[in-house]
Structures are given as structure tokens and as C-alpha cells.
């Protein structure tokens, strides 16, 4: 399992990849930063399309291990993370350092490019935004999602009854 909802521990990942034949271990931690574009960030909320994220993470790890003759361990955290918490942890071990560094770099870049994970930023000014959506943020509590969901559901049911769906 590459997705976890509990705190990540890089030591566990290093233990999984180290071996007497591998003289280099590189690791990468992505942690929650307290600022974005000059604004104060309080926390992040990560969500995922979990079945696909698991498949895609497995593919990325296999590609890195194949390309650089190394062992790779990877975990990505899901849920609410506070500033300083680790969101992603990667460890790569190989006979020599070039391969370990390259594999580590490859894995984090491919995660960002391919794995279906999303995050919402909670700002100090009360605004909440989906990262990368390009949309204006909302003030926390300004909307009533349950009520809105109910309205949309009723409209969908109506359309379904008419054979639109």
C-alpha cells in the first residue's frame, strides 16, 4: 500500500531498501509548508482516487527500480496534514549514489505528474482553495455543501426520470 492516513516514518522506508550490496541510500521528504504565494498556510487536506493512485505508484516504483538498478520505497499520506507534517516519503538504495539520487528524483517528479492525488489549502485568512484548480478560493463555512449536494441530486434524479441521463 502506497497511501497511508497515519504519520510517515522515513526510517521504516530506509530499512525496506537498504542492503549490504547497496552502498548509497537517498531519501526525499515532501513536507507541509506554512506559506504559498506570500499567504499563510495553516494545513493541507489530501485526497486521492485510491485504487488508481496505488496502481500508478506501483508503476512508478517499478520503472525507477528497472531503470537505475535500485530498490525504492514510497509512501504518500492522505487526510489532514498540519504544517511540518510529511506528505510524501521516498527512499532509494543502489550500489552507487548516482542511481539512488536519480531514482529518488524520478519518483517524486512522476508522482506529481501522474498520481491522482489532490489537496486543499487552508489559509490563515479563512480561505480554502483546491491546489492547481485555478479557481478562486472559498471562505470556510461560506457554503452549505450538504444542502447544495441535495439540490443537485434532486435535479439529477429529475433528469434521470426524463431519460436525460
Amino acid at each position: 500500500m502506497f497511501l497511508k492516513s497515519t504519520p510517515l516514518e522515513i526510517g521504516t522506508l530506509i530499512t525496506q531498501v537498504e542492503s549490504p550490496a547497496r552502498g548509497a541510500v537517498a531519501s526525499f521528504l515532501g513536507t507541509v509548508r506554512n506559506h504559498q504565494d506570500g499567504r499563510n498556510v495553516l494545513r493541507l487536506e489530501y485526497s486521492a482516487y485510491a485504487p488508481m493512485a496505488e496502481v500508478e505508484c506501483a508503476r512508478i516504483v517499478a520503472e525507477a527500480e528497472d531503470r537505475w538498478d535500485c530498490a525504492v520505497a514510497l509512501v504518500h499520506r492522505i487526510g489532514t496534514l498540519e504544517v511540518g507534517d510529511t506528505a510524501v516519503a521516498i527512499a532509494a538504495a543502489s550500489a552507487h549514489r548516482e542511481e539512488a539520487f536519480a531514482a529518488c528524483r524520478y519518483v517524486i517528479e512522476e508522482i506529481k505528474r501522474r498520481v491522482p492525488i489532490w489537496k486543499r489549502e487552508f489559509f490563515g485568512d479563512g480561505m480554502v482553495e483546491w491546489v492547481g484548480s485555478g479557481e478562486a478560493g472559498k471562505r470556510l463555512g461560506a457554503e452549505e455543501p450538504r444542502q447544495r449536494g441535495h439540490e443537485v441530486r434532486q435535479q439529477l434524479i429529475a433528469r434521470s426520470d426524463r431519460g436525460d441521463l
Binding site: A48, I111, P116, I117, S133, V152, R153
Partner: protein
């Protein structure tokens, strides 16, 4: 005997992040013509209340793999509409 060709197909659609928020739900079923593509499913979603926040050509996954929007759909496919990815 002539093979019968189903004239419609039903697929499961999964919505995530800002798209799920826009449509007020994260799953729905769509009934589409038998020859429908992902693009047809996206057009249908975009016609729903809040659907205008889904782009014309969003990132999509068909049965757990990213797929181009001209991919043909089959009955019981799982189509996921993916907002801009933000892992890491």
C-alpha cells in the same frame, strides 16, 4: 442469427476534488449511446448543474489508467474525471 448490438451503455462516473464539489456529488451513472466516447460523457457532465467547472477536455482515467478523450466507452466502464493533479 444476428448479433444484437446494445444501443445504449451505462457507465460509472467518479468525480474528485473541485469537480465533485461543483456537481455536489462524487459518483453518478450515465446512460450513453452505444458508440459513445469519453468526450461524449464529458459533454453530458458539463450540461449538468455545476458542470461548467469541468473543462472541455479534462484529464480522464478509464478503468484506472489515464485515457485520451476520444477513447470508446464500454458497458460498466469506470470513468474518472480528474482535476489538475496535486500530489507530493
Amino acid at each position: 442469427m444476428t448479433a444484437t448490438v446494445s444501443s445504449t451503455l451505462t457507465i460509472q462516473v467518479l468525480l474528485f476534488g473541485s469537480y465533485a464539489e461543483a456537481l455536489g456529488r462524487d459518483t453518478l451513472e450515465l446512460r450513453l449511446p452505444g458508440s459513445a466516447t469519453i468526450q461524449d460523457a464529458v459533454a453530458r457532465l458539463r450540461s449538468l448543474p455545476g458542470g461548467d467547472r469541468i473543462p472541455d477536455r479534462p484529464l480522464c482515467a478509464l478503468n484506472l489508467s489515464q485515457a485520451p478523450v476520444d477513447s470508446l466507452l464500454s458497458a460498466d466502464d469506470e470513468l474518472a474525471i480528474l482535476p489538475p493533479l496535486a500530489g507530493g
